[in-house]
Amino acid sequence: MNLLNLKKINLLFIFIIIILALIGTAALYSAGEAEFDLWAKKHIIRFFVFLIIIFLIASIDIKIFYKYAYFLFFMSLLLLLSVEIIGTLGKGAERWINIFGFSVQPSELIKINIILALAKFYNDLRFDRIGKIRNTFFPLLFIFVPTSLIALQPDLGTAVTIILLGLFIMFQSGVRIWKFFLAGIVTLFSFPFLWQSIKPYQQKRILSFLNPESDPLGQGYQLIQSKIALGSGALQGKGFLGGTQSYLQYLPEKQTDFIFTLIGEEFGFIGVSFILLLFFILILIAYFISIKSRHIFGRILAIGVATNLFLYVVLNTAMVSGLLPVVGIPLPLISYGGTAMLSIMISFGLLLNVEINANNTSLNK
């Protein structure tokens, strides 16, 4: 670890995430009906604690992450497996595990480790060998072993996110395009089987998404309410703390997954676009970092982090605006919740690390 490296840290990136976290704090203050202690306080404290973690991770030699990429992957896989076992014994949908008094959701942590493992794999792979079957097989293992465990929990939203994340990275790394077409066709034909294999409540979610009026008091209602709240926010919104709370009463997760609805209602289209713009700038910065990096490990790592962030933002905003079924994905830095924030902040740490170590060519063979 060399803290001097931090002189090279991307200040614009840090600045933007601080703004987003402050917006999140304000929104949570509003969601808590003007009570700071309910969610907002914890949110902002968490953010600044995790900001220190970003700096720590950014200042560690990138070779360490490279060296332990597979090890970390297996560790988090074990964690996931233990949650699965404890969950089975406890007879419920368990997604949390308690480590040193902290509730940790291993499915969040494994995302970062999949990015690391894939980055290492493609960094070590000679490009002319990428077409071999086994070199497609191993990355798929990295993706699908944890995914199937998470799907069993059952946490469909996270499982789908991880598959998309993995496929983005594989595509980025140069896997032949026809393989993706093949995968697409296979998925299409196996759809009836997949439909059978998911839980009834998940089927209901998808059905109520396709036809919200079919379940006006359940999931569909939530969507209708979310759309009404957003739509009535119009261009400028109803003003801070001005959201008509009666809508949000129907959003059981207004402080987590549906926080963006509240922002849309109170700050209108201007607020919504501003936040989307900030997130897109973060993604752009990640792409610049990727391009600047002189080793494949860093390039893939940066794009992995960007894609992870992209998926969070897109899936969450698409969900609250009724473009996608309600899947339960938080909005990074803004939604209330510790593990999601920790995992996204760790990934930011890795991203800034890649930028600091852009010229470290020792990872090339």
Partner: protein, 600 residues
Amino acid sequence: MFNLHERKQSKVFNRRTFFLLSVKLGIFSVIGWRFFDLQILNSKKYKTLSKKNQINVAIIYPVRGEIRDRNNIVIASNKKVYDLYIIPEQTNNLENTLNNLNDYIEISFKQKRKIINLSEKVKKFESIKIIEDLNWKDLEVIETNKIHLDGLHLEEDFQRIYPGNNAFSHILGYISQPDKKEVNLPYISKMPKLDIGKTGLEKYLNEDLIGIAGKKEIEVNSYGRVIREISLDPSQKGKNLQITIDSRLQKFTFDELQSHKAGSIVVLDINSGEILSMVSTPSFNPNLIIKKPNVEYWKSLLGNPLSPLTFRSVQGLYSPGSTFKMIVALAALKHKLVNPKTTTFCNGKIEYGDRLYHCWKTKGHGKMNLENAIKESCDVYFYELSKKIGINKMATVAYELGLGQAYDIGLENEKKGIIPSKKWKKENLNENWYAGETLNAAIGQGYSLSNPLQLAVMIARFASNGKKITPTLFKRNDEVIFGQIEYLSQFSNIIKDALFKAVNEQKGTAYKSKSNDYFFSGKTGTSQVKKITQAERESEEFRKKTIEWKNKDHALFVGYAPSKNPKYAISVIIEHGGSGASTAAPIVKRTFDYIMKLKI
């Protein structure tokens, strides 16, 4: 520096980077457009929708089912109560109204502040509860002075009420708010605020008593104000249930215990096994637990060293004392180890090992046969007998007569007690059995422990000539057919004759309590609490000294009536009551008198 592969990789890599970035930008644009569509193009539509009224669903809580006794007398019911509410927006000035109210009903300053603070947090049109369960006087005052009390209104609610107060509390238990775990019980899901049974039958019967929630659809405007009721799906009251207790007898036996600090009485119907009465003192008043604030009352219950929350009839364990002798006698008869006619001489004590074993009658009983030994409760006779039988055979018979087991009558924490045996001692204390311990066991001392319900079952099984009666709190519809203890039907007349004479013949231990109108039979028991030392036993001082209450013996009696064709079995235990003959037997007599009068 770059070789061919790497150059090619770099090219592919860059190409795909830009491709994916464009894809992401595209998707972001779609999302952006979606919000543009919602918030700009269609905002008018949603604004109109947002002003439209919404439909809210409110849960209607069901009324809890009643519990009745065997004669359909209500013992757990619901009282209609009136709660006083205030709606801030309907008052000219909230504080003034509260001050006016204070002229009629006292409202503390603290309470007033609380209401005013609360009114600032909730919406102006929401009701705030001021007083729960108004009494009739206050109700009247409020009705007559309505003009000065703007914004106040009354709402109906139901409160659980137990008319029997302390007499039924252990059997019935009480209701209260569910805890974190209970909230997830399937039958109260959706009704998180419902009071549920926490102990006793209220807990055991929750599922039947709770009923089914109804719902009400209400139209509210965008601020949450109720506009109108759209539909009403009423709740369904829980089932009314009947139990086997006779509340008259329950109250009578409860009152019988009041002259003692602690004890229990159990009365069984021998034909059906139905429990007619089961009381335990000290007791508690469930009505005081339900009524808030109850902190002080809880403190007094938990601070009471006699633990009023314990249901002694099933949770209290006592040495059966001399009531155990009928088991020993039966074991001897079963294994043909005794001839009822042969006699043993009792001179007040026997020596066994290097120890002296005393009879309660210091002078000794003289010549004793089996019948007289039961009738006069001669310890020495049973010491001698037990040496021939051995502990294990006694244990088997004790178990078959109903001791050492729980009957799962629906009350939690029913204690099994202990029937000592060689195996039991090895498993539980990891020690070998000493021969002398068999002698102690023969008079129901030592390790033996039973609860009062078990003792009632034991005497009922003797009384019925060996029917394997099990107790219940729920009506048994048809004539139940119990299993039969074969060897008991063969010898029961020998033991029952002795039990008859114990009450109805001179020298019988309970002769003083005999009835002149009918016959009952039974056996006294005195269960030793404090070991008496040899020195104490021999000193005349000790005999005369009044013993401190907590060191006094427990007084027991088990019996049945009428002696011919027995119908009722009873077990009485008075903690530290002295001797069974002097304390427990008179209670049994009075209880049987009462039962005969009632003709249950």
